[in-house]
Amino acid sequence: MDNILSVLVFLPALAGLLGFVVNKESARAYGITVAAIEFLLSLWLWVSFDTNNAGMQFVELIPLIPDFGVSYYLGVDGISLFLVVMTTLMTLIGIASMSITENVKNMVVTLLFLEMTMVGVFVALDAIVFYLFWELSLVPMLYIVGAWGGPLRVYAAIKFFLYTFMGSLVMLVGMLFVAYIYHNVTGVWSFAITDWYALVLPIDYQLWLFAAFFLGFAIKVPMFPFHTWLPYAHGQAPTIGSVILAAVLLKMGTYGFVRFSLPMFPDASVMMITPIAVLSIIMVIYTAMVAYAQKDMKQVIAYSSVSHMGIIMIGMFAMNAEGISGSVFQMLSHGIVSGALFMLVGVIYDRRHTKLMSEFGGLAAIMPKYALIFGIMLMASVGLPLTIGFVGEFLVLVGFYEVSPVMTILAGTSIIVGAVYMLSVYKKSFFGPVTKEENKTLKDLTPKELWSFIPLVAIVVWLGVYPKPVLQPIDNSVKAMLAFMDEKAITQEAKDIIKVPHVSAHAREVK
């Protein structure tokens, strides 16, 4: 299977097309089957991935427009591998736990198409291909929010679409400009990211390009103050939409930073550490406080997403292996945990058709299994050790401490403010006496729901206790990237700040 990546990318889309001829009753089963095959394929990818190789693997390269250097260029490294696996997993679980009853077939087809674009973004190594998938991913999400959403769905969907689209257009300009510079320098056109890596740019170019890419990625992340589309999108989207949005789509932004901004503009990245860290700290604290003020359970989770993305952002700009590996790991962790939390909110919404916390209270006594799983995910969300949430957060903070102790302490307040809003959600919804009559007869998790959560709980605990299988490949690729950034950096300041880890004994053996 040399072209497993192509299979991974296009299998869902082809299956999605075929899905149109599947009859309505079996659409769901069909979706689950396809997503399961896709997930197994991605697992196979992981199994056959050489964890000691820090470079790109499973590379596929077919020139598309040779004159302009555009090619169909795919590959994965330690950083993208697990994002792909997480994408397929969350899609599978999302489809399996889906509670939508109308237009199921369309939803399944949309989700499969969305899966193609998400996998495509993570495996694309050609900027144009990357950009194609990046923009294409907006369409299914627009449709999901706009067609299955709440009362304000059109507003939310359009806001989401236009906002992110605007950002990525600026990014496109940046990409074209990089290609242009590349052409000027080498005389050939190329859109391959790996070629671009070799480009050493002067500082002012780096800064401008960094800004262009930043806008595209930051809106997607979403960074403060570009985050306001997110609460609307989450508030209006159906559960499955929120799950995918929080788990995968937001990661595309942070992944973009790792894939493009850091290695391509090392000096600009170093210069922008402080502004980005300040924005991230605002994100962490401010949105956590906003989350605390929410009355709607789903909005709390939505804002908490923003808050956690702040941690991911700050880790990325730690410029050392601890921080960046932690940040990538935190992407996975946040994907799983926030996805699960949105699914959990969906469970209660299906039963009561409200997400207001004041409508609940005392649910722990009525729905103990639900309360248990919510509790586990809550603890993972606030970063309890031995859950997946801790590993990333700890590494991020460790990493950034080297850059700035004061800002680390400020960002570290996330463990406090995060606990504040999460525990207050839990207390308002699950603790206290049961006050509402209609809550007394609520059903606990059905087996279907339970079985969608069990894998997530298992992952949360497994990767919390033994993150090595995931963390090590990530770390290898990140170390390689850092070494390369350090070599490429042109200012002394950047060389000082980018910290190349000592090559461990293990890695030396491999070489």
Partner: protein, 632 residues
């Protein structure tokens, strides 16, 4: 021996998971039995390890597997069983086992019986990780783990509604649980920062590697690390100003209070300081600060205990006060004395709490000691236990507390910190007073409970038997002071009194004893005959100040909780909606408005279009001409 280490560590985990299997089912008696047995196994393993370490004088180190590895950071799941950790292990598992057995009786009628044991065993597991870990990160796992278990257990009766602070100072179990968790989190941030400082300056989090590196570090780094770690310790050990959660945590079931909020978890902070003694002994300023804070908290908490009416809260304040003593000892460099007091305190304080649990059980969860009195007739054994524990707490020879607490006070004198010494001596007197005020009000005097319609009765016999090991240890633990010192100073720095102090030791002891006996006598005079309320005293400002915990919870509420909620609300409604989001919408509206305005150009008249086109063409031409002129 490795196997024993794992047995001691994982038996509580197995126990917790076993109980969790039945967590959502109605009460199953065997759950309680099985978990108790598993805890017993853990205790036996710990005891054998203790014996092994005692005889061979060598530490056992095991590494289970890698945990986190990124960059240059490598954290394994490594465990070390040395003199300090084995002491803690033994104390923790012993008290836990007793509490487990006790809980079989205490939680007898609770519908969440199985769940309770699951949490309780999970707590023991976390505590074992905390004390056994051979690195700071592992300690932090346990640190947070006990925090969560404490959250679960304080909020165990989560169904109770929130009430006003006047009605119940803790508002509700779930409120108290959240308070405890969040306050601990604040301190944990300090702890984390401590870890970061340690890691970036020594390149490791393993105790032995870190301590080996310490002499090469600058003073400011050491101070920062020590301070940050101590902030972590302050949270877990409820030192001022993060102390309010501990008394509120009394909302949890009483066995929980005994195990977590008296004997084990709250001493984790002291354990950390003892564990990291090479660091703290190199930072005299921070250590002195620890000692001063400890002394202050000892006095401060004791003062609040003087007037409290709540049985459990009095004991909680006394726990706080005793933690202050431990920190004072550790801060003054007498680490082994701190550890000794920690162990001794664990025994008699757990006993005291369990006794209080018996009383509560008998009094249908009534906690107001003003409504009790004369219980000695029906609860002979409990009276005996609580009396013994209180004697130990008051520091009356030959009970355990005398040996440990006296040593601390002597240390304060020996270090020349006479002010601290004086405060500690006065506090010892206060301790004796409030302990016996409580005992006398509960067990002696008129039977006020009859008025309120209670029918107290003694608890199950096996519960009383289960408590007996604690009672015995509370009595005799002090006799092992010498051998304990020899044992733990293998690892901890030795601490000797100077010649001068040595000569005065008997005198100093007498002073302390005098204060302690004085306190008891005063309590006996005032309360043994029955409750005579002194309205005038109760109306004074200082009485009210003490009864309201110096109004500190109110201050926190007014100046932290409420502003936080208010600012959050402003951030959401004003900033996020009205500024950030409105800006985005504003841009959209502007574009829409421009489009709407430009629509008027679309008259449908081709001639107008042509005019516009001409205008555009001329403009473009002009631009081209001008730019050509500039460039060319």
């Amino acid at each position: 021996m490795e196997k024993l280490v794992y047995i001691a560590l994982f038996a509580p985990l197995v126990s917790s998971l076993f109980a969790a299997l039945f967590g959502m089912m109605p009460k199953k008696q065997f759950v309680g039995v099985v978990t108790s047995i598993l805890l017993g196994i853990s205790f036996v393993a710990s005891a054998i390890l203790a014996h092994y370490v005692y005889t061979t004088e060598e530490a056992i180190k095991v590494t289970l597997m890698d945990w986190i590895g990124a960059g240059d950071l490598h954290i394994p799941f490594g465990f070390v069983v040395d003199q300090v950790s084995v002491t803690m292990m033994t104390v923790v598992t012993l008290v836990s086992t007793v509490v487990h057995v006790y809980s079989n009786g205490y939680m007898d009628h609770d519908k969440s019986f199985n769940r309770f044991f699951s949490y309780l065993s999970a707590f023991v597991f976390s505590m074992m990780v905390l004390v056994m870990s051979d690195n700071f990160a592992g300690l932090f796992i346990g640190w947070e783990g006990v925090g969560v278990c404490s959250w679960l257990l304080i909020g165990f009766w989560y169904h109770k509604p929130d009430v006003s602070r006047e009605e119940n100072p803790s508002i509700s179990p779930s409120w108290a649980a959240n308070e405890a968790f969040i306050m601990n989190r604040i301190a944990d941030l300090g702890m984390l920062v401590g870890l970061f400082i340690v890691y970036w300056n020594t390149g490791s989090l393993q105790y032995d590697e870190v301590f080996a590196q310490l002499p090469h570090l600058s003073g400011s780094v050491l101070n920062a690390a020590a301070l940050a770690l101590f902030i972590g310790a302050m949270g877990k050990s409820a030192q001022f100003p993060l102390h309010t959660w501990l008394t509120d945590a009394m909302e949890g079931p009483t066995p929980v209070s005994a195990l977590i909020h008296a004997a084990t978890m709250v001493t984790a902070g002291v354990f950390l300081v003892i564990r990291a003694n090479p660091l703290f002994s190199m930072t005299p300023e921070i250590s002195y600060f620890i000692a001063v804070l400890g002394t202050f908290v000892a006095f401060f908490a004791a003062s609040m205990a003087l007037v409290n009416r709540d049985l459990k809260r009095i004991i909680a304040f006394s726990t706080l006060s005793q933690l202050g003593y431990m920190f004072a000892a550790a801060g003054l460099g007498a680490y082994w004395i701190a550890l000794f007091h920690l162990a001794a305190h664990a025994f008699f304080k757990a006993l005291l709490f369990l006794g209080a649990g018996n009383v509560m059980h008998a009094m249908d969860d009534e906690l107001d000691i003003f409504k009790m009195g004369g219980l000695k007739k029906v609860m002979k054994w409990t009276y005996l236990y609580m009396g013994l524990a209180s004697l130990a707490l008051a520091g009356i020879p030959p009970f355990a507390g005398f040996f440990s607490k006296d040593a601390i006070i002597e240390t304060a004198f020996n270090e020349g910190t006479y002010i601290l010494w004086a405060i500690l001596v006065v506090t010892a007197g206060m301790t004796a007073f409030y302990s016996f005020r409580q005992v006398f009000l509960t067990f002696e005097g008129d039977e006020r409970y009859k008025k309120y319609g209670f029918h107290p009765h003694e608890v199950y016999r096996y519960v009383l038997i289960a408590m007996s090991p604690l009672a015995i240890l509370a009595v005799i633990a002090g006799f092992f002071k010498g051998s304990f010192e020899a044992f733990v100073t293998e690892l901890l720095p030795e601490y000797h009194m100077s010649e001068h102090t040595h000569h005065l030791a008997w005198l100093l002891g007498l002073v302390v004893l005098a204060f302690a006996v004085g306190g008891i006598v005063l309590a006996y005079k005032k309360y043994a005959k029955g409750l005579k309320r002194d309205e005038a005293l109760e109306a004074t400002w200082y009485y009210k100040l003490l009864a309201n915990q110096y109004y500190i919870p109110n201050l926190y509420e007014e100046f932290i909780s409420k502003p936080y909620a208010m600012i959050s609300d402003i951030f959401w409604n004003r900033v996020d909606m009205k500024i950030v989001d409105a800006t985005v919408d504003g841009i959209a509206k502007f574009l829409y408005g421009t489009g709407d305005g430009a629509r008027r150009m679309q008259t449908g008249n081709l001639s107008n279009y042509l005019n516009w086109m001409a205008v555009g063409a001329v403009l473009l031409l002009a631009v081209a001409a001008i730019s050509a002129a500039i460039i060319g």
